[in-house]
């Protein structure tokens, strides 16, 4: 009979994790390029088997929002911006770049945007990024923003500092069918209503676990009392 308590406790723990996932998604509802996190149970449903979905992130396209900042880039279609953090390459959909002292385009985390020729470097003054990622300055193409995608869904994992990293041995390929828009940011693909609903749902299941434990306790309590009655 002890298993009832165990089952209820496990279920309560699981629902708590689900609520954490939703809370994280809600907290990042305005983070540019954020991709909604999926929780374990949902991820297992989405893939054919658990091993297929190391990144339990919903990679659907976020809405674009116009910012008129020429350093902001958004991707419509598949792929990620390749950014360099020290010697590591990370992948992100967040395109809120700005120009640093050396003319490189960097994110708020100081990750450097990568192009075909390594770091994308633009001189002071105006520059244009064409739909195919070509960076144009003074009527000359100076570089092309590198967009990378992975054939396998399971090639990416979350990086501890944000963004995604490619798992060992996984190679990305260049994306040519995506459109880059300058002066726009891709918003998070979080639907607040949906997350709220899932949170309430999880909360009810959590409450149910609590009721289960209470009912079980009443039952045992009653049984013990009745056993005591029999003895006298």
């Amino acid at each position: 009979m002890g298993t009832v308590i165990d089952v209820a406790a496990v279920s309560m723990g699981l629902e708590m994790q689900r609520i954490e996932t939703s809370a994280h998604n809600i907290a990042n509802a305005t983070t540019a390029g954020f991709k909604r996190q999926l929780d374990l149970a949902f991820a297992a449903e989405a893939g054919s088997g658990a091993a297929d979905v190391p990144v339990a992130a919903d990679l659907t396209q976020g809405r674009l929002s116009q910012t008129s900042d020429p350093h902001h880039l958004a991707i419509t279609g598949p792929g990620f911006f390749a950014v360099r953090n020290g010697a590591d390459i990370l992948y992100t959909r967040g395109g809120a770049f700005s120009r640093d002292g050396e003319g490189r385009l960097v994110t708020a985390e100081k990750w450097v945007l990568q192009g075909d020729g390594g770091d994308v470097v633009v001189k002071p003054g105006e520059f244009r990024v064409a739909a195919d990622g070509t960076v144009i300055q003074e009527d000359r193409a100076i570089d092309r923003v590198r967009l990378v995608d992975f054939a396998e869904k399971g090639a990416l994992a979350r990086s501890p500092i944000g963004g995604f990293v490619a798992l060992a041995g996984k190679e990305g390929h260049r994306v040519d069918d995506a459109v880059i828009r300058q002066g726009y940011l891709e918003m998070a693909n979080v639907d607040l209503g949906h997350e709220m609903l899932r949170m309430m749902e999880s909360y009810r299941r959590f409450e149910f676990g609590q009721r289960l434990i209470q009912t079980y306790e009443d039952m045992i309590g009653g049984a013990v009392r009745r056993l005591g009655d029999l003895q006298t």
Partner: protein, 257 residues
């Protein structure tokens, strides 16, 4: 469940910063040469979530810790120039800044607005900080002309020919993020390694000086309002998360009646 509470709190804090920044942008919509600020959000992830061998576990709920308003960045896109016909209003058509002498001796950059003549006769910004160019305006000056190239000339009483009394130089900063706003439309260079170019108006992309014009704030009210509505909703949603975390704790406490 504690982490639900903290994740909600990070969300509230980040949205609060964002709304504060937005409110400041809207409040300054009529401040000459004001540059709008935006908040960059960044996702917080627990380091151990990724270190775990099981990649699926890494993607589970324990990975996310919420959000942080990583930094505020100023958008230095030039605003529109509006004609004021006032000889002491100057604006810069381009990306340069005018350097001022600060009491502490640091480099203070200014996008231009209203000039004034200090009691000691030196040309200064409207808050009294003197221009680095140290231009002394004679007492009997009747008119002041500032050319596009930064040359300052005055006509004195009884003298029909304008006389050049100084030259305003411009300063360009490669990385606008190295600038910290210190109020009154002025900026301090925070990063000692920042790439600073000094030159005459017209050099490179420093721009030209326009007398009799004021630069309007580069704030777009529609954009700010839309962003504000979004942030308000996001704030409420995070508040609800915290409320739920509280209810969960209450539920747990009721386990033992």
């Amino acid at each position: 469940m504690n982490s639900v509470l903290f994740i909600g709190a990070t969300g509230l804090r980040a949205q609060q910063t964002a709304v504060d920044t937005l409110a400041n942008n809207i409040a300054n919509i009529n401040t000459p040469a004001y540059k709008r600020a935006t908040v960059n959000f960044s996702e917080l992830v627990a380091p151990d979530a990724v270190a775990r061998a099981d990649a699926l576990a890494a993607a589970s709920a324990n990975g996310g810790l919420g959000v942080s308003a990583m930094s505020t960045s100023k958008n230095f896109t030039p605003g529109e120039l509006r004609k004021t016909e006032n000889a002491l209003d100057i604006a810069i058509r381009g990306n340069g800044f005018i350097e001022l002498i600060s009491p502490g001796g640091q480099t203070v950059l200014w996008r231009g607005a209203s000039l004034r003549v200090n009691p000691d006769g030196f040309l200064a910004a409207s808050n009294g900080l003197q221009l680095k160019a140290s231009i002394s305006v004679p007492n009997d000056a009747t008119s002041l002309v500032i050319g596009e190239n930064g040359a300052v000339a005055v006509t004195t009483a009884g003298n029909t020919k304008p006389q050049q009394i100084g030259q305003i130089e411009l300063v360009g900063v490669g990385d606008a993020r190295a600038l910290a706003a210190i109020g009154d439309g002025m900026y301090r260079i925070d990063d000692p390694l920042a790439d600073v170019v000094r030159g005459l108006p017209g050099d490179g992309n420093l721009g030209l000086i326009q007398q009799g014009f004021a630069e309007t704030a580069n704030v777009n009210l529609t954009e700010e309002m839309v962003a504000m509505l979004l942030m308000q909703r996001a704030y409420t949603a995070n508040a609800r998360v915290i409320q739920l975390a509280d209810e969960m704790m209450a539920t747990v406490n009721q386990l033992r009646r």
